[in-house]
Symmetry: C2
Subunit: 415 residues, 2 copies
């Protein structure tokens, strides 16, 4: 596709320049961008209100429109996000390790930018600025392909971001928006190996699956979370109630929210009513197996499909298991390798759960809601990787870097 080839080439040229820019100059650009977003807020709001009107006319869901909609306050929050990135440490240039070999060669591993980052995402204009900030900070250029519902908003934002780069004497092609929002442009991005070093999809399960299954560009798979809370036979009841309630209801629409509750049979009849009662405070629908439905008369029967479903809503599936092993096997079978938690006071069970559950983040006695770049102390987040290559779990600035070996010699040759 012509548009992407051209943008890819320009992004590559910009990346070569950006990779050599000092933290000082990159921070200056972020500061200018934050100021310009506030300065031109009216332009952004105007474009956004057209997007929102169109979305309403085409009958999109309220939750999608809520994510699409910008306000003066939200724009200020987005600008603040950029300013927060300024204060983070720039990982680029850090020498992770340097050793001296027996022949005197000094071999060091230095962090460098990835190069060109591609992003495919849905109708969330804040992602546009987030990704820009994280990429500029780490010396990467980016090509953004946002959802068509947010196109006018993204266009207004990227215009301001490019202006800001230009005012900072950085290449404005460091950020480029794909104008073609057809399915074809997404497919073309997935094959743009020549220019993209990485492609990150952010959005619903369908989008992510499509990108993972079709992209020949290296992908970081993010975000789908069918997360479980397992209440062990030796769980503390207060912790079990608090953690289940928090993980399910604190913010049900996000990937680290719990979607399924497993409970050991020896404590089910005591603890299920406690947890169920608490969940009823938020009108959570419980879809249970036979035993759960027997214990809780307000639970509805779960189907096989429920065990694999990420509801992102006030719904939770619930199952009674006969052993820790059964719980672990269930999680490894139905989970999405995102975040999983055990509630237990038993040391050996806790260790077994940590060792055997295959997920990006495995918790003992804490809510899965903590899987998040900010909560992990990274200061920022480009997404949560649920795959095993390159980065796993919340991805901060370091996930946007690669390394290169630098070797200082004094004439060494190989014998």
């Amino acid at each position: 596709m012509k548009e992407l080839d051209e943008k890819g080439q320009r992004a590559r040229t910009a990346a070569n320049i950006l990779s050599q820019v000092s933290s000082l100059d990159k921070n200056k650009a972020l500061k200018i961008a934050a100021a310009n977003l506030r300065l031109h807020a009216a332009d952004i709001l105007k474009a956004n209100s057209t997007d929102v009107q169109n979305a309403e006319l085409s009958g999109l869901k309220g939750s999608i429109i809520d994510r699409l909609k910008l306000t003066a306050e939200r724009i200020d929050g987005i600008a603040e996000g950029l300013e927060q990135i300024i204060n983070l440490e720039d990982p680029v240039g850090e020498v992770i390790s340097m050793t001296v070999r027996p022949n005197g060669l000094q071999i060091g591993q230095r962090r460098v930018p990835l190069g060109v980052v591609g992003m495919i995402y849905e109708a969330r204009p804040n992602v546009t600025v987030d990704v820009f900030g994280l990429c500029i900070k780490t010396g990467n250029s980016c090509i953004l392909r946002g959802g068509k519902e947010a196109f006018l908003s993204n266009q207004a934002l990227v215009k301001i971001l490019r202006l800001s780069l230009s005012e900072s004497d950085l290449p404005e092609d460091s950020v480029q928006l794909v104008e073609d929002t057809s399915r074809e442009s997404a497919v073309a991005m997935m094959k743009l190996n020549k220019y993209l070093d990485i492609l990150i999809p952010r959005g619903g399960a369908g989008l992510i699956k499509t990108v993972v299954e079709n992209s020949t560009v290296p992908v970081i798979e993010t975000g789908v979370g069918n997360c479980h809370i397992y209440v062990d036979s030796q769980a503390d009841p207060d912790k079990a109630v608090a953690i289940s309630f928090n993980a399910k209801t604190h913010r049900p629409g996000v990937c680290n929210a719990a979607e399924s509750l497993l409970i050991h049979e020896s404590v089910a009849s005591v603890m299920l009513p406690l947890i169920g009662k608490k969940l009823q405070e938020k009108n959570v629908e419980i879809r249970g197996d036979e035993t759960v439905c027997r214990i809780l008369d307000y639970a509805v029967p779960a189907s096989e499909e429920d065990w694999g479903t990420e509801y992102l809503d006030y719904i939770i599936s619930a199952k009674v298991v006969g052993s820790l092993d059964e719980a672990i096997n269930h999680i490894n079978h139905y989970g999405t390798k995102h975040s999983e938690a055990i509630v237990t006071e038993n040391y050996t069970n806790a260790q077994k759960f940590l060792n055997r559950v295959d997920a990006a983040a495995v918790y003992v006695n804490a809510s899965t809601r903590f899987t998040d770049g900010y909560e992990f102390g990274f200061g920022a987040e480009i997404g949560i990787s649920t795959q095993k290559l390159h980065a796993r779990g919340p991805m901060g600035l370091k996930a946007l870097t690669s390394t290169k070996y630098i070797i200082y010699g004094d004439g060494q040759i190989r014998e």
Copy 2:
């Protein structure tokens, strides 16, 4: 493809078990495998001699047959390779870092196996055992798809490796050979996202290109090396001669050998004759630009194609450049991001080269031949990554691991 689906499923089951095996037990299996390779050497040699005969009958190149051919001594070397892996530290289980968050959560990052490793390679039976050893040590299962010319050899080897696993009480499906050596089986592996966590191609540029451009499984791109030696205006002549000669002729058939010589115009007339004379000791053909051909009457004119060619032979392209910038731009344009070297006594030029050349390994005053897992001190190598994601440069055991976050709480919930 049925064969791959079945093998994939079995490899996944084996990987789940392997991920929990102690270093002690994994080392025991490697020791038994090394002993069994020696014990059953006659079977391996018999199968191999049929492969070699067939290869000779079908008129394959001598260098390919040399790589295919096994001897009692080579089998002993392969077994010794396994024994060396025993002595390396097992990276699995290492907690890279653990921090305590303000809310008391202890968040650690622990190394875990990748899972299932796929390998597509050419007719080199030693790779079969190498990959087995590195995968077992790191708790990964592997699916091997070797070249059809080595099929009988690989079959004999894998039979012994599986027997050894069985004798060690490890799942024998930890190593599986793809029986179908058609193009279709390679293509099916590239789409086996459901079971493969990573796919590593090892072989010539054509094979690697095909895999990178067609695989939707995460790929680690390895090995193609169009490596340059740049002789700076302030190069030490002795170092320039020794490094150029070593990088080109020490082992011309490997990826870290130099393929191109760049030399600053201010020293070309003095140093080119010195370097050329030394290269003539090994009858290296020099393909030069106009200036090179004027200085060396035995050089032949280079075509545009030469600048991008990995000869893997006693041939080197040579070009006179007007500046360090020109050298860097040439390398970043024609290079394959493998290994690049500058010869200089000038501090600022050395730093500029290290900063601006985009490659897995960048050298000052040393031969590119050092880009190698053993020379870098990793003790083993599964390949040399020339891409930026997950691993870059020589890949040792750590490149075969991922991480997971383990979190110790005492009831924390997110407010």
